[in-house]
Amino acid sequence: MTDPVTPREQRLAGIIASAMDAIIAIDKHHEITLVNPAAGQMFGYSEAQLLGKPLSMLIPERYREAHDTHIREFARTKVTNRGIGRFGQVVGRRADGREFPVDASIAQMELAGERLFTVVLRDITQQIEVEKALRQNHELLDRIFATTHFCIVYLDRDLNFVRVNQAYADACGHPPEFFMGKNHFDLYPGAKVEAIFRNALATGQPFTIYANPFEFPDHPEWGVTYWDWTLHPLRNADGAVDGLLFALLDVTERKRAEREHAQLAAIVESSNDAILIRGLDGTVLSWNTAAERLFGWSAREAVGQPIELILPPERMGTQRRSITGAARDASLSPVETIHLRKDGARIPTQVTFSPVRDRQGKVVAHSYTVRDMSELKRREEALRGSANRLRELSHRLRTVEETERHAISRELHDRIGQDLSTLGLILGSLGATLPRESLRAVAKPLQDMQGLLKSMVANVRDVMAELRPLVLDDYGLLAALRQLATEFAKRSGIATELSGVELQPRLLPILETAMFRISQEALNNIAKHAQAKSVEISLHEASGRVMLDIADDGIGFEANETPPDKQHWGLITMRERAEAVGVVFRLESAPGAGTRIELELERAAP
């Protein structure tokens, strides 16, 4: 047919020319007989370059054979058209050699006994990329879903489980498959929560709740757990709600931490000690009520201020050193110091520093616990004062006692003793002067009287020695110790050795007395407790220092511990006595190694 071109044909040619898709016609030899502009553009050739050329030039070489076969197969089927894509990937090849995926359909017809094929092609590079991106997105979501510590559940309109993630399954103590097809509220009944879910389905409004308590009906042993959770309605393509996304977070730990924190805060707040936190930058971060009371600054005034607010300027150096010390490591034992009040007053305090650490053990701040010691100091002072007065009093009492003893002892010696001796002499002379016959009558009573007199003198002598040995006053310490040692050895049967030198010049009477009395007490202790076989007493003087040692070889005791009661008082008395007159008292003892008492005295410079 050679009809002129009809308007109908013209219209058709226009459609082909303006089509978005590439259109290519080929003859039975697979040679191109028609191309539209879109095809030229797609492959990067001009129409002229394509017409009369084999179709295979538009196909990468490795696909050409398969493609030829495919078209021949198609011709045999007599089917008018089909998509090519279902037979596998169709790939186009541009003039510049670049390949690209195409979506192709092919049609065939008989025209004047000639078989013609029409191929319609669409570049799907972009589409594939979009699909790839979508797939990646999906994978990402899947991964998030699988790995998040949020528990995520997808429920359908009937609140049946559609999908749960591992976190949720783990939290509930079941494998993920367990939930499939089950109804949420069959597993975990709860009318109030179900109403919330239904409402979200009905209204399409999301819902969030924080720290909601929940008890697992199948795990009562877990107790009450706390959950932050969110409901998010999911809509289908029509915009109708067809499911719920249910995301949960277990906040039980946090809740407990909060409660603990609240308890700690309450303790800090109610503490009688001022507790403050100092940040690493040296500013006050926290300030409790007791701190307000102690320092006079309110929390509002103090927080944010440098810690120097409460340090007296004159002590800043030392305080800073303590702080550095606390920063280095563990809490320091309480430090006694002085703090500054708002009104400028200095308060004696006891401070404990301790580093505040985060979970990683890094020091993030320091806590100060400050105790007001004013009252304690006052009491201590009062106590010390009264102890001093007591010591002074007992010292004075002892002095008075010694003076009295001395006076009585002298009195006994000079008056009673002398009188008794004289009486003895007179009685003796009486015997010598009486006529013989008178003597016979009184001889017996006279003899008795003389015997009685002697025993009275002996008694007076004992009482004198007991009261105060006159030899101490007459000849000093070494002489008195010699007498003491002799009498002690005789009385106790313990071998007693005295060595030493006469002190030149003699010590003050008050010192001689103290050292003698302490020696007496020490020997008494030895006789009573030590089970000693021998005692050594030595008195020496060198370079202005007087030393008196008393050592026994008895059973001893643990010198660091308090000895048995009676002995204990003896030791206290000795020490007290020594210290009252400025004599150093030292005691050395160990079980089985005897006891040694050392007295030491520095002579006053002449």
């Binding site: 003796g428 003198v457 000849y475 060595s499 030198v501 050594e536 030595s538 160990a590």
Partner: protein, 214 residues
């Protein structure tokens, strides 16, 4: 020849009693009486008695001090202390001061005549009652002479071992003390002997007669 006695006692009745007692003998004569040590010291030159019979406890110079002065002035005068004091210390002091007799007042009636005769005859007299507590009235017996003598047995032991070059623990083992105690003894020794360090201590000990290590 009678023994001429001076009585020294502040107690009048005592003097009278003694005078009466001595008067019962034919060989003893009381040639004077004074009331204080000071008076005795003055009178003894003029009276020149053979024996002074003297109390210890007296106002204005006690008996022992008076004895010392009298003995210095007139060494031939024999002094007998007559005292209430029954302790070794007074006996020792009296003999050291130059007395040659010591008797207790309460036994004077029995012993004073014997005592006066004994000392006048050149002997010493001590009340038998005192002999027990004063085993050796020899002046100076048992009393320290040198610095080393003034140390106790234990201290001398420790010092000897130190001089021999023993360590604290060796000394401790040798004399059954703890090493710590030995150290205390040693530092105390140095203090007592007034030496500052160990070499000086050894030197001091050698100079004062301790034997060096063999």
């Amino acid at each position: 020849m009678t023994i001429r006695v001076l009585l020294v006692d502040d107690h009048t009745l005592m003097r009278e009693g003694l005078r009466a007692l001595l008067a019962t003998t034919t060989d003893i004569e009381v040639v004077g009486e004074v009331r204080t040590g000071r008076e005795a010291e003055r009178q003894v030159v003029q009276i020149n008695p053979d024996v002074v019979l003297m109390d210890i406890a007296m106002p204005d110079l006690n008996g022992i001090e008076a004895a010392r002065l009298i003995h210095l002035k007139c060494p031939a005068v024999r002094i007998v202390m007559l005292s209430m004091h029954a302790t070794a210390e007074y006996v020792y002091r009296a003999f050291e001061a130059g007395a040659c007799g010591y008797l207790l007042k309460e036994v004077a009636v029995e012993e004073v005549i014997t005592a006066v005769r004994t000392v006048h005859g050149g002997g010493r007299y001590l009340s038998p009652a005192l002999a027990e507590s004063v085993p050796d009235p020899d002046p100076g017996a048992g009393y320290a002479r040198g610095p080393i003598d003034s140390l106790s047995t234990r201290e001398r032991q420790v010092l000897q071992l130190v001089v021999e070059g023993k360590t604290s623990s060796e000394i401790a083992r040798a004399i059954y003390l703890s090493p710590k105690s030995v150290q205390t003894y040693r530092s105390r020794l140095m203090l007592k002997l007034g030496v500052g360090d160990l070499p000086s201590l050894v030197k001091f000990a050698l100079e004062h007669g301790l034997t060096p290590p063999k």
